[in-house]
Symmetry: C2
Amino acid sequence: MTKTQELNPNSPVFDPVKFLKRERDASTIKKDEINTFLESNPEKRDLTHLIIDQIVNDPVLKSDSDYYDRSRPEEREITVRKINKMSLYMEHDIKTVRKQFRDKDLIQELQENSNSIRPLNNKDLSIFNTRLSLVHNIDPQLGTRIGVHLGLFGNCIKGNGTDEQIKYWLQERGALFIKGIYGCFAMTELGHGSNVAGLQTTAVYNPDTDTFTINTPDLAASKWWIGGAAHSATHSAVYARLVVNGKDYGVKTFVVPLRDVSTLQLLPGIAIGDIGAKMGRHGIDNGWIQFRNVVIPREFMLSRFTKVINENGKVSVKTEPLLDSISGYSALLSGRVNMVMDSYRFGSKFATIATRYAVARQQFASAPGQPETQLMDYPLHQFRVLPQLALVYLVSPSAHKLMNTYYTTLDELYQSSSSNGPVDKASLAIVTKKLKNLFVESASLKATNTWLISDLIDELRQTCGGHGYSQYNAFGRGYDDWVVQCTWEGDNNILSLTAAKSILKKFGDSVSKGKFDKVLDSDAFSYLEPSFISSAMSGSTKFDLSDEPSKLYQYTEVWGVALVKLLAHVGKLIRQTKNIDNVSKFLVLISKFHAIHSMLKAYYEKLSSPTDSYVSDKATKEVLWSLYKLFSLYFIDKFSGEFQQFKTFNSDQIAKIQDKLLTILPEIRKECIPLTDSFELPDGMLNAPIGYFDGDIYNNYFNEVLKNNPIEADGPGKPPYHSLLSGMLGRGYEFDARLGGAAKAEVLSRLSK
Amino acid sequence: MTKTQELNPNSPVFDPVKFLKRERDASTIKKDEINTFLESNPEKRDLTHLIIDQIVNDPVLKSDSDYYDRSRPEEREITVRKINKMSLYMEHDIKTVRKQFRDKDLIQELQENSNSIRPLNNKDLSIFNTRLSLVHNIDPQLGTRIGVHLGLFGNCIKGNGTDEQIKYWLQERGALFIKGIYGCFAMTELGHGSNVAGLQTTAVYNPDTDTFTINTPDLAASKWWIGGAAHSATHSAVYARLVVNGKDYGVKTFVVPLRDVSTLQLLPGIAIGDIGAKMGRHGIDNGWIQFRNVVIPREFMLSRFTKVINENGKVSVKTEPLLDSISGYSALLSGRVNMVMDSYRFGSKFATIATRYAVARQQFASAPGQPETQLMDYPLHQFRVLPQLALVYLVSPSAHKLMNTYYTTLDELYQSSSSNGPVDKASLAIVTKKLKNLFVESASLKATNTWLISDLIDELRQTCGGHGYSQYNAFGRGYDDWVVQCTWEGDNNILSLTAAKSILKKFGDSVSKGKFDKVLDSDAFSYLEPSFISSAMSGSTKFDLSDEPSKLYQYTEVWGVALVKLLAHVGKLIRQTKNIDNVSKFLVLISKFHAIHSMLKAYYEKLSSPTDSYVSDKATKEVLWSLYKLFSLYFIDKFSGEFQQFKTFNSDQIAKIQDKLLTILPEIRKECIPLTDSFELPDGMLNAPIGYFDGDIYNNYFNEVLKNNPIEADGPGKPPYHSLLSGMLGRGYEFDARLGGAAKAEVLSRLSK
């Protein structure tokens, strides 16, 4: 046995490998078409394949099962080794986009910032951004550690800096190429997280020296949770209160150097410590920072929207209020958008592992002498696993769509708000509206999906029984790494409330004033169209949720009706109680329903599009529609309380929906292996032996355990702390004897004399 | 700042300490009475206080924040150090129960097993069992590591061994005193978990030598997840197929020695390895075991119910079928019962931490210039935290009640099924029924509560924002340690299905045959009483869920009605489809509803009892009733889909229940600090600085972080892997130059010639 002996392939007991093969052989659906559908289009699909292939074969970047056995110091160091490697890919990726691999070095030209060369833009970073998103899937701590530098530090400068400041810090100094300087994002403090406007760190302007002095006035003002601060960052984007002539102008952003770039020694006035043990993502060097009279030049304030001007000693502060308020969105927005994509990728990983295990694993025979039943053949198991698979499918189109909207909206914003030259007020008004919609959409999708994926990981781990609790099968660490997504870059509850309040406001405008922006709102907020609202409220919209192709949009629309009814109920409650806080529970629900509606709509539109679905095979399309229906029905059943309470459905209809659910599950069960194969995740991306492609669950798992836990060198079975155990087991009969025998009757009698 | 500077106590920004003090000062409820209520009675309360006091002050047993920073080898060793200490407490505790501290050493007498001394029984172990349960709360891995030895190995022998075998292994050999031998419980295999009857390990009887040979026939038959196997166990209770004369008699239990008790070297034919990294409980040495022709004497088979008899070469197998089937219950039952108690204790810990944090933490001001609002004053926050607090309160009475039922039923079983002398068939029939009911009750309560506490930890972690993700605040490790409770000792879904099928059967008997056991079923299954069923089905039971004292039982009864309606629906579905597997989702729900009903009933009965509640203060009782109502209403709202679908309530009634929920929350919010103080958990038990008693959240948290992460010795801020970072940041402009310059135009032109 042990390593050399394998599971007998002819054993009558279990048949894992044959099961997976059999299911693959029996399938007729087109995995290639599905993968193109999931990856948005052929170009993105090819790029994704190419990058994944590089990652799992790169000796530095690949993750192996030893990932689950490392100490924190090891993780920290290995993560930097990986960043180092990623920095080289970064240069390579930019050159690939610009097709410049010869003669003058492109990166050098960009850093020298000669006029002959176009500055970097989002398109130049598109390959690397995809690479970063994919690497996050195999090693979330690596993704974050780079993401904080590029995404948070970088976007803070992009969102708040002047064009010159952006070019200087990100391009000339090399930050965007992960060289020269390394940034962190010093927003949150020990005492303030969600309430950014309440941050306490101060930046006081000194007119004499034309500088700011940065200070941490109180323990609670210590910058806290700052990723990259403990060990890597040379610079920080600091959120601090701008104080000029004793007047507090609120929280603005400043670039504050932390460390000597060559020795990494802390600069004067900077105190930094390690945050220490976290629930997950141990490879991120989160730290705290305290500033004591740290002086920076005035020019280090990011001044796109707010400037301190010193004209011969006459100091003034100039602000563009509208834009200043937008700037708050920008740094965190990218993270939220990316987390929706992460939801798809993380979900696909765990759905693949759990589905393959459920098909390969047998437990309990239906009758004596029969082979034991595959877990996936139990209806309860199908009910636990397959809706999660459907969820992953449903995230994908909305994640890609949100990402596209993000990039196009940001481009429009930069075009209309250049810091050089006049602001184009008309187009700025439009882009501001778009940005606000994007904020609502990303908040609702980020919060809802990061929650749903937490639940998915937890539920799917449980479907793998004890083997799901082994760290080598990815669920434990995956969960611990994942769940911080529900808290950071906007706490999910706060985001949900904010999104819901905007939706409620739009609802009110539509109902009371017939106000509805057909250009900007008809996509994400189609259910707020006045005529839709009135037909939903009057109950004239009927749903039979049939399988007729012409009625498939019903599965989306029914959520629009549910939303309208929920919004109307909440509106009534607020009018009655005059207290919006009291309906918070329902507000969170509005955001969830909105996200579900958006996901269904994006999926419906993509799959029914003659040009964008890339799915031509009929049987394949059929299965993809089944997933869509399953998702909609599963969540109707899950929220059947609200569907009944607000009279979208009555109890008989709910019972029919539950019936229908039970008929769809076996259809999807038949194709569940091809449907997870279609994610095209190589074993190196899964890093979980019970989920490997070949389905050889027992041999794969045993071998990974053995590889990471070789028999002890000093004699198998004898633990290093042997003496503690043998001393305990071998201790004498008499406790008293071990104390010297002073409790013996004879002694006690003498003692009592 | 750093360690020396403290949060300014006069700072206008935050007021954590004063808030907690103020809420305590304003409270009028009697914490002592509540604590007695929660701990069941004054005797148990005093014992609990005494033991907790010992644990948090014992230099070996106490847990500090360094608990969160240890490597796996450190955890393993420290855990054994703690077991060592617990073994001494064990002797002490038995002597305390028997009041024998002088003259002849009690433990020696018990081990010598002289006829003059009464053998050990459950009462002798009562103090130690409480100690073990409490220590599990501060260090779950320690609890488990001892629990496997005493609870699983010990109970397997107690449940399956003859009186002589029990006395020998547990008393003479010292296992019950944690000396002499150390046991593990080798049930699950790589290929079989829930399906115990399908285990593959074989024990073949050899008539020639009157021995068994134990073998692992296949990789999938490797014993897997065996706690204590990797490093500590000298003996194992092995589940293996009994094969006599070529006939397979199914899975029986055997004591198989694994290691030399003095050197801990593995014995011949035993191969053992470490299971390695787990999601949590790293201090447990879970291992795998493979047996290759391991020979044990026939007498090592545990033979209370099945015996192999060799009379002069004539070999036969004698089985007591009824009792043999019961024996399957016994080993895992204790664990399940204990997990309900764990649910109360774990829940109380996290409810305390999150409640204190929510009262101490302020975020967002309601108006400019106002102090920021305490988190707990937000209705959404109340909705997220307070029902979890109510849950913890509701677990307690049912946990104590289940524990009592367990001990009395087991005692009755031993009395009626002694292996010496004739079996008392009449009383055995009764105790068998009781045992089956206990199985249903413990399965439903174990599954439901371990799930609910998983959700509680997750939800409450999120209410603490980023600080909840810090390992030092207990949630992360707490969750990882906890969730295995949903899988082991009976997977929650399997347990729920089994419990529900029994309940459904009872329901069928009651409806169709009017069969209802007034003596045995009227407690846990009161809702199955025929007249209750018919009034529930006819809709004649009306609920106004008012605050009238005489109507408080309604909050329990409404769940009985919901259960009846759910059972009726499920019965109908099964009749229609002839397939019980298809209704599995509803079966799981039956088990959940049953558990909720049991918890409400136990709480109601205790609190309304003139003798057992120990709560005489009116205001105190009022608050305790509010928790009861909150629990019932919260879960009605949560399951409002089923309450409406099966017509327990209509949508207007659900809306009223939601209203009522919102009026109860602020009542409990007022007393939330005293209500968590009443758990009387010292800081050393919480091990989470944001939850410490004084409420000084920022200073406490900062100091723990600093203690565990002192500034690096070789220069603050300069990481050990400095060269990897500075090399990356300082790399030259030109990528090509780093490759030797071969891509320059001039070189390329030469190369193309």
